[in-house]
Symmetry: C2
Subunit: 199 residues, 2 copies
């Protein structure tokens, strides 16, 4: 089984790679320092990546940027960071990668708790999360050749609390290792159209 | 009370105007044949509209285009129709219109049942709906000056069943008049951060 993990250098990406490397050939993709480079905000870069790596059994995305900041300072331009990365970056991985996914393969994208449990400064990220969750639910009923699709919505990570803790008051952080289990369930299980909440 | 209804010529827009015209001054905006013209896919057009109409008590959007078609034919380019119209068109109305909304005013956007109950061909629309719903929930905790924000998620409309019925097998269509009640609740009630489901 060949698994492509986009965002493999991030905290969740690293945990997912560790979770799966005993069961599969894992191809690590990220903006730098990986098996293959990709910029998910560029459709050309996504196309090049898939052309280079060829067929896979599982597409995993654990990446996506978004602007965080006070709502009154959110502009269409700042909001476009999340639109082009966390929302369309992940969705374009699906649209452009689908022909490279083998029969009965799977796709797993990442959303996040802010769509359900908002914090100050998180509206743009929440938008991207909500868009990805709904896209996944709808795409699942149409994917061809037995291909499945799910999304994973992590709480704030234990590993990120040093940096982000002050913004997530009262949230019960979760270890990336626990989030990685949801990816294992999506990839090696049989469900489709699900949003796995790691809250 | 001054209410701006963007998309006032649509089936839901017309019903909202009829629902509210006895209680407020309603300014109708749409791409043509209205009190004021606006193209929500253009931030310049949105800015011009607000500059021309000035202060309002309620911003209502009942509009937003999306591409419908088989998932395997969905490209990043076709998906951008929903991104630029139903998703960002509505969100940019909020980001650019906020300074024009009076203290204790309200904002009401439109999503749709496809984010919860998908149909073939609806993934791009579902994405936009889910993004708007999550954005609204998050924005609500940060809006200044007592301004509230909600979204309304209609089922397929009775009025649209001649055209769209074949795509919505088994859906219980609702009259636009019933959808308009949810807008009344959002505008004249006191709740915020809600998604009103007219299913």
């Amino acid at each position: 089984m060949r698994i492509l993990v986009v965002g493999a250098n991030g905290t969740i990406g690293t945990a997912v790679v560790n979770e799966l490397k005993g069961d599969a050939e894992v191809i690590k993709a990220s903006r730098s320092n990986s098996d293959i480079k990709v910029d998910i905000t560029s459709t050309d870069s996504i196309k090049r990546m898939f052309k280079e790596i060829g067929e896979i059994d599982a597409l995993v995305s654990t990446t996506g940027a978004a602007h965080f900041g006070p709502f009154e300072e959110l502009t269409p331009e700042l909001n476009s960071i999340a639109v082009n990365s966390k929302l369309l970056g992940q969705i374009n991985l699906v649209l452009l990668g689908l022909p490279y996914i083998r029969d009965n393969g799977s796709i797993t994208l990442t959303t996040g708790i802010l769509m359900d449990d908002p914090i100050v400064g998180g509206a743009s990220s929440a938008m991207a999360n909500g868009g990805v969750r709904a896209f996944v639910k709808s795409a699942a009923i149409e994917l061809p050749r037995g291909i499945r699709i799910n999304s994973v919505s992590p709480n704030v990570l234990e590993e990120s609390m040093d940096h982000y803790g002050p913004f997530f008051q009262g949230f019960e952080s979760v270890p990336a290792k626990r989030v990685a289990l949801a990816f294992r369930k999506s990839i090696l299980g049989a469900q489709t159209g699900q949003s796995y909440y790691v809250y």
